[in-house]
């Protein structure tokens, strides 16, 4: 029972130097997280026994000694409401690109150990993305900067906050002062900005984010005359058309959209919204498309224009007069697939007027967004499938304009003092600005940042920032809901938040974040800051009813006219060719714009589509690869916009012809031990002129090869394996079409052909609670959130690129990704494919093959039907893994916790044993959560309620795809989903009776009768 010695969690409330210096702390941590000490130094009993055995065998008496003594350090004064060893949860929020995301953070004896979604938050609804969950690890990152630095004349001096404060007063008065902030939604920061600008009237204020939705914003301005924010609602949508858009993943409200989408797609209860996607490469939305066409991003405008044209010409849709020009713009070079797609979509949109929505991705030009807005307007989507709110900062110039303007002024030596609040412009500013060089020339530059990163190293001052889990703050959700942020722990490294620093700059004197937030909150009109209100707001993490009013803006003819012209220009662009392919720069699904590069969980998280870890790669389709003459894992030299980079090629189906994509955010030089030198810095391609879509690039093979660390074998595979895999997928990941399903719900069982599953012996009777799980493949969108949740909950180690290459990744959940191609297609004929996901983790077989082969009974069945894995009994024969047909067991080939920093160890969940080397591990259905609830329930003599136990993965799943509960309770959710027609067990024919069932995926294509759903079949033909 290790929880006793967690009292010394209090130690972590102290300051940095104590963290650093006191030996007790190290001891404490060492004791508290005995990585594998306990197997070298087993508990007294066994160790002594052993010793004496050994000694006596040597025929020499030997006195045994007790293993290292442990200390118990209780509080001197126990804080109110604090019970040692009992985790507490606090509502807080984090901000990415100026949108606040609400979360509930579990704190164990003062150490935040896990981040989950805040059910009350509109953009979270209890779910949390992989990236947001990984914040916890970033908090404890030992590479975070720990001191203020002053760099002068090649020298580097360590300073403290007082020195900075005393100096800061004078810095910003007079012309030439400027602040470069990131996008933000924090009212407090907003208020401080006003205060700063009033204090220093001549100072300038800039906001820059490399990744933004500025084009969408600008597009709406063109249509409505004023900027508005778009809020799609997929719940009631019958038809969703996405053009280079990924609403299910890269939208700020993605978690909510996924929830709505999954609900709509449920064949029993949903509206069965049909999804059309035209995009250059697979997005998670594209994976779920019922009709998908791969078109180069530069051709997406043409595709949308064609739809508009068809709507007007063939279906008589009426556009606003000024927008009529949109329809005129036709594209004659469309391929058959594109035409097919356009015809289906246009007809569908028309039949489902006002129940349909058209979405365009942030990478597309404003004019395209404008067209989409016009169509939505004309189709009567406004108010039903799409709503608008006024843009929170309408007068803000676009981020690119802002950074360009700043760059120009620096060039003209107009900037004397530059305060950079967060961000990393030296790394991610457009390449053509040479921002790094310019920054170096600024007389006084101050960078507030979590890390002493690329930008800090070029600034005169570096200020350590406090992490969002260490600081007070606030922000607005995508819909404007006010979300509060409260610290869960004192700043580990003595950092301060942006508002605290800005307060100093605004000559508002050093104030605590707490004061500042309360001030601004009370400053906001209409909200009395009473004790009650404050407590409730803190408890909920959000202020109820604080979302912005929706607006129904009228269209603006002038803007529309220019939008039409803009679109016409876009249509001039020709198709990319083999000689001049197109390159699309996409924000990374894991490290985003590069800010999370030093986060091991995210770096090791396999990309949903390519399964690549620890790298970014040049994604191109098999056909394009053949044309260009590069092969998978070959290093290609890519030339674009004057820069030439060597990128490893990853051949992946579903990319548009002659179109390549590569992720931003890699190749960091000063990210930290984890992130440095991982991947290639593709910002070097990114210019103000072409931030996202680069046409006319040059791709050449170099003949050199580079092995990408993927968690599944590359797409490149020998013919035998390839064809066998295609044969098996149909049975493993079952899917059908809605039409076929409604006609014959049993259809997904028709492909089962195995003898009756009878066992040789009398089956075991399972009484009491019997835990089981159901995973709805129709809801899962493959967002990876479950993997990180599991990693955080279960102390799963990060093993690094080399070990992933050796196929020793440790994540308990494997998000299996299969490419489905038409039957008979050989590996080198494939160009397009359908993708299906299948989250695969231990399915807790009732007749588990792993159990009978373990010689020491380290894995055996519990009375509640779990396939228990007893780490401390395991001797590591690996026989269980060999005999596991799902290969979901993970082995500690080394002691992966040996070199962890003390701070990193603070993240560990004390209710889960930290595994030593030589020990097998696997998913346990979060048995620690089961036991916790069971004990609590038994303590007050009540049954366990359905849904009371939530495994980490189920808890965080935005699509609510994972159901967990008691199989012996006929009324439990899991039992009911088991009885659905769609329910099946993978590899059921082995008669191992998995406790986890899958619910088949149901697609909803036009005319989805069995004959026409070869699924992959017609996909294969499309854009083939």
């Amino acid at each position: 029972m290790s929880s006793m010695n967690h009292h010394n969690g209090m130690a972590y409330w102290r300051s940095l130097d104590e963290l650093e210096q006191t030996a007790e702390f190290r001891e404490a941590v060492g004791r508290e997280f005995p990585n594998d000490d306990w197997d070298r130094l087993p508990p007294a009993t066994r160790r002594q026994f052993l010793k004496v055995m050994g000694a006596s065998l040597a025929l020499a008496g030997l006195t045994a000694c007790r293993w290292p003594k442990e200390e118990i350090v209780p509080f001197a004064h126990r804080p109110e409401g604090r019970t040692p060893g009992v985790p507490q949860r606090f509502a807080t929020s984090m901000e990415i690109d100026g949108v606040a995301l609400g979360m509930l953070v579990t704190s164990f004896d003062g150490r935040p150990i896990k981040a989950e979604g805040n059910p009350l938050h509109p953009d979270s609804l209890g779910a949390l993305s992989a990236v947001a969950q990984a914040e916890i690890l970033q908090l404890y990152d030992p590479d975070r900067s720990r001191r203020l630095l002053l760099r002068e004349g090649g020298q580097q001096y360590v300073k403290d906050w007082n020195e900075f404060e005393s100096l800061a007063g004078g810095l910003f008065s007079g012309a030439g002062a400027a602040v470069l902030a990131g996008a933000f939604s924090s009212p407090t920061l907003g208020a401080l900005r006003e205060r700063f600008l009033t204090a220093h009237p001549e100072a300038r204020w800039y906001e820059y984010e490399p990744i933004s939705r500025d084009n969408e914003r600008e597009g709406t301005r063109l249509v409505f005359g004023s900027m508005v924010r778009i809020h799609p609602h997929l719940g009631g949508a019958e038809v969703v058309a996405c053009f280079d858009a990924d609403p299910l993943f890269d939208h700020p409200a993605a978690l909510r959209l996924v929830r709505e989408f999954a609900a709509a797609r449920n064949p029993e209860s949903g509206t069965g919204g049909r999804l059309y996607v035209g995009e250059s490469g697979f997005s998670l939305t594209g994976v779920r498309a019922d009709h998908r066409v791969a078109v180069a991003s530069s051709r997406v405008p043409a595709l949308l224009a064609a739809v508009a044209n068809s709507l007007v010409a063939e279906h008589g849709l009426e556009l606003p007069a000024a927008a009529a020009g949109f329809a005129g713009a036709t594209d004659h070079s469309a391929t058959d697939d594109e035409r097919h797609f356009v015809d289906l979509l246009a007809a569908d949109l028309m039949t489902h007027r006002s129940r349909s929505v058209v979405l365009v991705g942030p990478r597309q030009a404003p004019a395209v967004h404008a067209l989409a807005a016009v169509l939505n307007h004309a189709l009567g989507a406004t108010g039903s499938t799409i709503t608008y709110t006024a843009d929170p900062s309408p007068d803000r110039p676009s981020h690119l304009e802002a950074i360009s303007d700043l760059a120009r002024r620096i060039q003209d030596d107009e900037i004397e003092t530059l305060l950079i609040l967060g961000g990393n412009p030296a790394y991610d500013a457009p390449a053509d600005l040479d921002f790094a060089d310019l920054l170096a020339g600024v007389p006084v530059s101050i960078h507030l940042s979590l890390y002493d990163d690329e930008t800090s190293k070029l600034c005169t001052w570096h200020l350590p920032a406090s992490h969002s889990l260490e600081s007070w703050g606030d922000g607005a959700a995508w819909d404007g809901t006010l979300s509060l942020r409260q610290p869960l722990i004192e700043p580990l490294y003595g950092g301060r938040s942006a508002i605290e620093v800005l307060a100093i700059a605004a000559d508002d004197g050093p104030k605590s974040g707490y004061e500042l937030v309360r001030e601004s909150l009370s400053g906001r009109s209409g909200i009395p800051i009473s004790g009650d209100f404050w407590r409730r707001a803190l408890r909920d993490g959000v202020v109820g009813q604080s979302a912005w009013e929706t607006v129904a803006p009228p269209t603006d003819p002038a803007g529309l006219a220019s939008a039409v012209d803009g679109l016409r220009e876009l249509l001039e662009v020709g198709r990319p060719t083999t000689e001049h392919p197109e390159l699309v720069l996409v924000p990374d699904a894991k490290v985003f714009d590069g800010r999370f590069a030093n986060n091991g969980w995210l770096q090791e998280l396999p990309d949903a589509i390519t399964k690549i870890t620890w790298d970014n790669a040049l994604l191109i389709s098999p056909a394009t690869a053949r044309d260009i003459g590069v092969s998978d894992s070959e290093v290609a030299s890519v030339e674009a916009r004057g820069a030439t980079l060597d990128l490893p090629v990853c051949v992946v189906p579903g990319m548009a012809r002659n179109c390549a994509a590569v992720a931003l955010g890699y190749g960091r030089a000063a990210a930290g031990q984890v992130g440095n030198g991982v991947g290639v810095d593709t910002y070097r391609f990114r210019t103000t002129a072409a931030p996202g879509i680069l046409s006319g690039v040059a791709i050449r093979g170099t003949g050199r090869s580079y092995e990408l660390a993927t968690t599944q074998d590359h797409f490149a595979i020998d013919t035998i394996g390839f064809s066998e895999r295609n044969l098996r997928v149909a049975d493993l990941v079952r899917e059908t079409s809605l039409d076929a399903y409604l006609e014959n719900p049993e259809i997904i069982h028709e492909q089962e052909h195995h003898p009756p599953l009878i066992s040789l012996w009398k089956d075991h009777e399972y009484e009491g609670e019997q835990w089981g799980m159901a995973i709805d493949l129709n809801a899962c969108i493959g967002c990876n959130a479950c993997i990180v949740a599991c990693q955080a909950e279960n102390n799963i180690p990060v093993v690094g690129r080399q070990q992933v290459l050796n196929q020793r990744e440790m994540q308990w959940i494997r998000l299996d990704r299969y490419f489905k191609t038409a039957p008979g297609v050989t590996p080198d004929e494939v160009d397009d494919a359908e993708i299906v996901f299948q989250p695969m983790t231990c399915v807790q077989c009732e007749n588990a093959p792993c159990e009978q082969v373990c010689p020491v009974a380290a894995t055996q069945h519990t009375t509640d039907g779990l396939n228990a894995m007893v780490y401390n009994r395991c001797i590591g024969t690996r026989y269980c893994s060999n005999n596991c047909p799902y290969k979901v067991r993970r082995f500690n080939f080394f002691n992966y916790h040996k070199d962890l920093a003390d701070t990193t160890k603070m993240q560990f969940n004390p209710d889960v044993t930290v595994r030593s080397r030589g020990v097998m591990e696997k998913c346990t259905f979060c048995v620690q959560r089961i036991e916790a609830v069971r004990i609590a329930a038994r303590n007050d003599n009540r049954p366990i309620a359905d849904g009371e136990i939530m495994p980490a993965c189920a808890q965080t799943c935005p699509a609510e795809a994972i159901t967990f509960g008691n199989l012996n309770d006929r009324s439990s959710d899991v039992s009911r989903s088991r009885e659905e027609h769609r329910s099946y067990a993978a590899l059921a024919e082995l008669n191992i009776r998995p406790r986890t069932h899958y619910l088949a995926r149901v697609n909803n294509p036009v005319d989805g009768m069995p004959s026409s759903v070869e699924g992959a079949g017609d996909h294969g033909k499309e854009s083939g």
Binding site: D39, I720, N806, Q852, A857, R873, C874, Y879, N892
Partner: protein, 485 residues
């Protein structure tokens, strides 16, 4: 004596095929004493330079083995090439390989004994020795392949404070018992057979140390016939026990695979298939060792061409059985209609590991076929080369079974490709060092031919002089008069 022959110089060839003529098992002008001299001479006279060279090499390889094990235990199983899905690699391959080698010894000494195959006498000691050393090498691997070696003792049913017991339903535990028993029994059998010969060495001892050392090992054997009587019985019983044992051991080893549910492992054919393979590889190894030894120590008259030829014939038989097993596997994979099984075998032959598979087929099925030709059975050089190839082939058989089946099982997403690490390879090479070190020490200090048994099958032991009843065992219904008349 009348048994003395005056044949041309080709007298060493006793490989005649005429069944009416009983081939002599010891050729040349040898009486009992000559045999004693030849065999004990090896131990008593200084070793040839070649021995020292070989010993230097093998013992340094043994050091490599120890170094690798130390590195493994201190660093973790990760130093090997293992991963998920291939959780077993070289270690288990080597284990099965060595256990297989061991089988020839027990087979020769036990089964051929029960079958009254009297030609076994001049090679059985030698083969038994090889068995012990092979089992020692085999024993190394299961020991070190577990993730936490320091808890390996949990495999034994020792009462403990956890009140836990091993899981007797696990084939791995069956293995522990099977191999343990096999090692023990082989050792007993080997040692017991050696007692009279150790006594011989004792009685020829020229120095005190030799006398006491061998004397102690000989347990005071004084060739008493009352002792011989029980000795013979004990030997017979041990042979009768060792026979089912040797068959069971490799069957149990095959259970490690057959009892699992992995396609390519889960087959009923494994036990016989493994046993045949084991005998096959065992004889190959005996031949590989015996050819140089009889040449170097001039034992051609005792370990005759006939012996080599017989072993070649056995290799031909078992090799063909193994080949048959390969084809049966394919047939069943297809016939069973189990798609996973079918794929596994297609994948073996044409997948990423095809190179290993075809190496195996070539060495194990094609190479032994040359033994249809007498020339290959009797020409020691060709025979030796063939045996070496068969050993290679048998190692690859285990590699194919273990690795190729695991590397691609049920879910395509978990497929992988296993590559051994340098540590894997050095450990394997090191195990040969251990094997040869032990073997060389055996040659140096112990009687490598069962003198007492050889003498027992020599003509002089059988009153087969002219004027007496023909060749054959003497049945003790004799009275003095009858003999004298």
């Amino acid at each position: 004596m009348s048994a003395t022959t005056t044949e041309p110089l080709s007298y060493l060839d006793n490989t005649g095929d005429d069944p009416t003529v009983r081939a002599r098992l010891v050729v040349g002008d040898n009486d009992f004493h000559a045999v004693t001299n030849k065999v004990c001479g090896i131990v008593e006279s200084p070793q040839p330079r070649l021995w020292w060279v070989a010993f230097a090499i093998s013992s340094s390889l043994t050091l490599v083995l120890l170094a690798m094990i130390a590195y493994l235990v201190t660093t973790g199983i990760g130093v090997w090439g293992l991963m998920i899905p291939v959780g077993w690699g070289y270690a288990i391959v080597n284990f099965v390989f060595w256990v297989g080698i061991g089988h020839a010894g027990t087979l020769i000494s036990a089964i051929l004994f029960l079958l009254r195959q009297r030609w076994r006498t001049s090679i059985n000691r030698f083969a038994e020795g090889m068995t012990i050393f092979a089992v020692v090498c085999a024993g190394v691997f299961p020991g070190i392949h577990v993730g936490r070696v320091w808890f390996a003792y949990w495999l034994a049913p020792i009462p403990n404070q956890m009140s836990m017991w091993p899981n007797f339903r696990s084939p791995l535990l069956w293995d522990v018992f099977a191999v343990g028993t096999y090692a023990t029994v082989s050792l007993l059998f080997w040692y017991m057979g050696m007692i009279p010969d150790l006594a011989a060495l004792r009685d020829r001892a020229k120095t005190k140390i030799r006398y006491y050392a061998y004397g102690l090992l000989a347990l005071g054997w004084r060739s008493s016939n009352r002792h011989w009587h029980r000795f013979e019985f004990a030997y017979l019983l041990l042979a009768a026990l060792a026979t089912p044992l040797v068959l069971s051991v490799h069957s149990v080893v095959s259970f490690d695979f057959a009892v699992s549910i992995m396609p390519g492992w889960h087959t009923t054919i494994f036990p016989p298939y493994f046993v045949a393979g084991a005998i096959f590889s065992g004889f190959a190894m005996v031949v590989t060792l015996v050819i140089p030894v009889r040449r170097i120590y001039g034992l051609q008259e005792i370990i005759t061409k006939r012996h080599l030829e017989n072993m070649a014939k056995i290799m031909l038989a078992t090799g063909t059985m193994v080949g048959f097993a390969y084809s049966t596997e394919f047939f069943i994979a297809w016939y069973s209609g189990n798609t996973y099984e079918a794929f596994t075998f297609m994948n073996r032959a044409f997948g990423p590991y095809a190179w290993a598979y075809w190496t195996m087929v070539t060495c194990n099925v094609l190479v032994p076929q040359v033994f249809w030709m007498k020339r290959f059975r009797t020409n020691t050089i060709l025979l030796w080369i063939a045996s070496v190839l068969i050993n290679v082939g048998m190692w690859f058989e285990r590699f194919v079974i273990v690795v190729s089946s695991l590397s691609r099982d049920y879910l395509p997403t978990s497929w992988g490709y296993y590559r051994p690490s340098i540590v894997d390879i050095l450990t394997f090479v090191g195990s040969f060092g251990l094997f040869f070190t032990l073997f060389l020490l055996f040659v140096r200090f112990l009687p490598i031919v069962g003198m007492a048994e050889v003498k027992g099958v020599m003509p002089q032991a059988h009153l087969d002089r002219p004027g007496h009843r023909g060749h054959g065992d003497y049945h003790g219904d004799i009275t003095g008069t009858e003999v004298l008349s």
